[in-house]
């Protein structure tokens, strides 16, 4: 008999095997495992888990259906709240959201809500179950800028209400960070992302790729000339940061965005795709977030020895515990309390190493985390051929600078109301990383959902 205090374990590829391929690491539950895990849910009357979910999925209700083996019914319940369950079940930081609030987690492990959501969505896809049909078309046009999680969610919700929605995407594939950022081994592109995008399209949403708002057309033109009555901006935070240290423009130094885009979107890891990628032998990834873990595990799979270089200690790593655990299992080396001061280059301006300094933790700073302080005289050199900078991203100013009357704050984020997504410009709504700066997939979805409601209220009042 299984220990009811523990999650039903989920099958994974063995670390040594998966470190050499781009197949998904986590294999997910089968139906028996899912039903067994679902039976651990005690179906709280006042379920705390729902409050922990940014899109408020009726978690006890869908888990109850899983327990009974009614997977299609469970999918319908999830679909009422989420347009991208196969994605969220995989990439949400459940430990700080739904599962973080689960009563079971007080004495033992919480119910594995994410893995159950994933199972339901995967089962629905494999069995050809589509989300419920949208309401009758009302003929009113809404434009959505960006096809990442915020835009897809907002578009899906508006389509369900009967709006005629067009998404404009700058890249050649829809999905935003889901296609260019998060690697195949965490989130399969064709199997999962493309299928969820198809589900959104099956609601009637149109997606126009290769359109850069601010260049190919502007928000003002969409509103004034193309007949759109409202616009949602979900353009994310895609502008990479660099450290500004000497040698950073050398050959072999990449932003994590470039490295991951080449590999995930352009599929550089596959021989029959044309985009090249530098397959380093000794790689350092600077940073400690989920993106850093993704870049490190990608470099590992491309055949490199990989170091994570992070200036604080393990306790402060911003990445999910599960990601850090996976990275270590696969053989990523953690160089903590270490900060780069210079990239060392050879006569051809190619990376040959990195000069770093050791750090210790001082007093807590404004963010509440202990501030790293250099240890004098502790400089040392690492021998490397590739450095990937994963220091975070900020919103691209292109849209705000080409839209009359759209206010931004000093971090270049669009100012928008949290409840409705309303911006300083009438009829224009915004949400996701474009508003908050780099955050999570599910928070972007929550913002997309709130804005869809805000837009519906605005347009209902207008006429």
């Amino acid at each position: 008999m299984a220990d009811v205090l523990k999650k039903v374990p989920v099958r994974e590829q063995a670390p040594k095997v998966r470190a050499a391929n781009f197949e998904e690491v986590c294999l997910g539950y089968n139906k028996e495992e899912a039903m067994e895990e679902a039976a651990r849910c005690i179906n709280c009357k006042n379920a705390k888990c729902v409050g922990g979910c940014p899109v408020s999925i009726n978690i006890p209700a869908f888990i109850h259906e899983v327990k009974e083996g009614n997977i299609e019914e469970a999918y319908k319940i999830i679909s009422e709240s989420s347009a991208l369950p196969a994605i969220c079940g995989r990439v949400c930081p459940q430990e700080s959201q739904c599962e973080g609030k689960c009563i079971r987690g007080i004495k033992g492990e919480p119910v594995s809500i994410g893995k159950l959501e994933r199972f339901v969505a995967d089962w629905a896809r494999e069995n050809g179950i589509k989300p419920p049909a949208p309401a009758a078309a009302n003929g009113r046009k809404v434009a959505v800028i960006g096809s990442g999680p915020a835009g897809l969610t907002c578009a899906g919700d508006l389509a369900k209400l009967g709006y005629d929605v067009t998404i404009f995407e700058a890249l050649h594939e829809p999905g935003g960070v889901l296609v260019y950022g998060i690697p195949e081994f965490r989130l399969p592109k064709n199997k999962v992302v493309a299928a969820e995008v198809e589900n959104v399209k099956s609601l009637g949403v149109k997606i126009e790729t290769n359109v850069i708002i601010g260049k190919s057309t502007t928000i003002d033109e969409l509103l004034n000339d193309e007949g759109f009555e409202a616009v949602f901006i979900g353009s994310g935070a895609g502008l990479p940061m660099f450290m500004g240290i000497p040698g950073e423009n050398a050959n072999g130094v990449f932003s994590a965005n470039e490295y991951l885009t080449r590999n995930n979107l352009m599929k550089a890891f596959l021989d029959d795709y044309d985009t090249p990628i530098a397959r380093g032998k000794k790689v350092a990834v600077v940073g400690g977030g989920n993106v850093a873990m993704d870049a490190a595990r990608t470099a590992l799979r491309l055949g490199a020895e990989v170091h994570i270089v992070y200036r604080r200690s393990e306790a402060e790593l911003p990445a999910r515990v599960e990601e850090v655990h996976h990275a270590k299992e696969e053989g990523v080396i953690m160089d903590l309390l270490t900060n780069p001061v210079e990239i060392l280059v050879d006569e051809n301006d190619a990376v040959k190493g990195m000069k770093c300094v050791r750090m210790e933790l001082g007093e807590p700073d404004a963010s509440g985390r202990r501030r790293p302080v250099e240890i004098p005289g502790s400089e040392f050199e690492m021998e490397l051929d590739t450095v990937i900078m994963s220091l975070g991203t900020s919103p691209n100013p292109l849209i705000s600078s080409t839209t009359i009357g759209l206010d931004i704050n000093k971090r270049k984020c669009i100012i928008a109301d949290e409840e409705t997504g309303k911006t300083s410009k009438e009829g224009v709504y915004a949400g996701g990383d474009a508003v908050t700066g780099a955050a999570t997939v599910i928070l972007a979805m929550g913002a997309g959902k709130a804005a869809a409601k805000g837009i519906h209220e605005f347009l209902s009042d207008k006429k």
Binding site: A170, N210, E248, E258, T275
Partner: protein, 296 residues
């Protein structure tokens, strides 16, 4: 899909294509570029806009096959399509966005090296349409590499042709023509715009610096997305790091670190060479030395 309305071989190794892309045609200005991707597995290639027709909704590109992707582009015919064609990218030339009266006061010299004539042409044409006749030097290694001569003559003030080997026009590199015009032929210029291979832009800048002519260059580093999200195209301009795709591609040529930029351009030379061989050799390709298993 973006339909190719016309595909034509120009002189030398160069090709011209007219591509249906109404949103780009409606919004582009001289100095801007597009990114083209042939099919699902293709890479994203930046190409400058050579001409545009707002009514027809078309963009003209001119390119020289130098690698696997551009080599594959040459096999496309009228009626075929690019899977992806995105733009306009980058900032327009400041000549087209600055105060027109100020621009009119300037005597402008364009220097076009090789296929660089393609991005020079729309700027000269735009100025012509606004009553400004700029001088143009078109240079190439040899006669067949001189592009767009007739088109340029129709819109420019004076057009000076030069070839390195003297097979057509003047003899020598473009910098020699600049020196001759200014030092021996009584011309003076307030602005030079130089577009071509990085090495040609570098030497042009050295010459114009000596002659004290402010110079704008259009940089062509490696790009991936072309929208500012990756930094593959970053350059050192003065003391600052700039992304050519959003901050440029045009910059003050006297502030560019050309040597660093040229080294960055070479980053994928080995991979590019292999990929080009694979395309050229087709079924007879065996992967090059070291990969070849012999005639097993």
């Amino acid at each position: 899909m973006y339909k190719i309305k016309k595909a034509e071989k120009l002189t030398g190794p160069n090709y011209l294509m007219v591509v249906e892309a109404p949103r780009i045609a409606k919004h582009c200005l001289p100095g801007q570029f597009i990114i083209a991707k042939e099919d699902e597995k293709g890479e994203r290639i930046p190409l400058t806009i050579c001409d545009y027709d707002r009514e027809e909704g078309t963009i003209t590109i001119v390119f020289q096959p130098i690698g696997a992707s551009t080599e594959k582009f040459t096999r496309l015919k009228a009626g075929d399509s690019f899977r992806d064609f995105v733009g306009p990218l980058g900032k327009p030339s400041e000549l087209c966005t600055d105060d027109l009266e100020e621009v009119k006061k300037k005597k402008i010299l364009f220097v076009a090296g090789g296929v660089g004539a393609a991005p020079v042409y729309p700027q000269v044409k735009w100025l012509h349409e606004h009553g400004i006749e700029a001088d143009v030097i078109i240079g190439g290694r040899t006669k067949e590499l001189i592009l767009l001569e007739d088109e340029m003559k129709a819109v420019a003030g004076n057009v000076y042709i030069t070839t390195d080997d003297g097979s057509y026009g003047r003899t020598g590199v473009v910098t020699k023509v600049i020196e001759d015009l200014v030092q021996n032929e009584g011309k003076s210029y307030d602005l030079c715009v130089a577009i071509g291979p990085m090495i040609m832009m570098k030497f042009t800048c050295m010459t114009t610096k000596k002659l004290n002519i402010p110079t704008v260059v259009s940089m062509n580093p490696i790009m991936v997305d072309g929208t500012g999200m990756c930094g593959a195209c970053r350059l050192t301009v003065g003391d600052e790091v700039k992304f050519a795709c959003v901050d440029g591609p045009e910059f003050d040529g006297h502030l560019i670190d050309f040597d660093a930029a040229m080294k960055r351009q070479m980053m994928y030379k080995t991979e590019e060479g292999r990929a080009l061989l694979k395309v050229r050799e087709g079924d007879t390709h065996h992967g090059g030395c070291g990969n070849c298993g012999g005639d097993e």
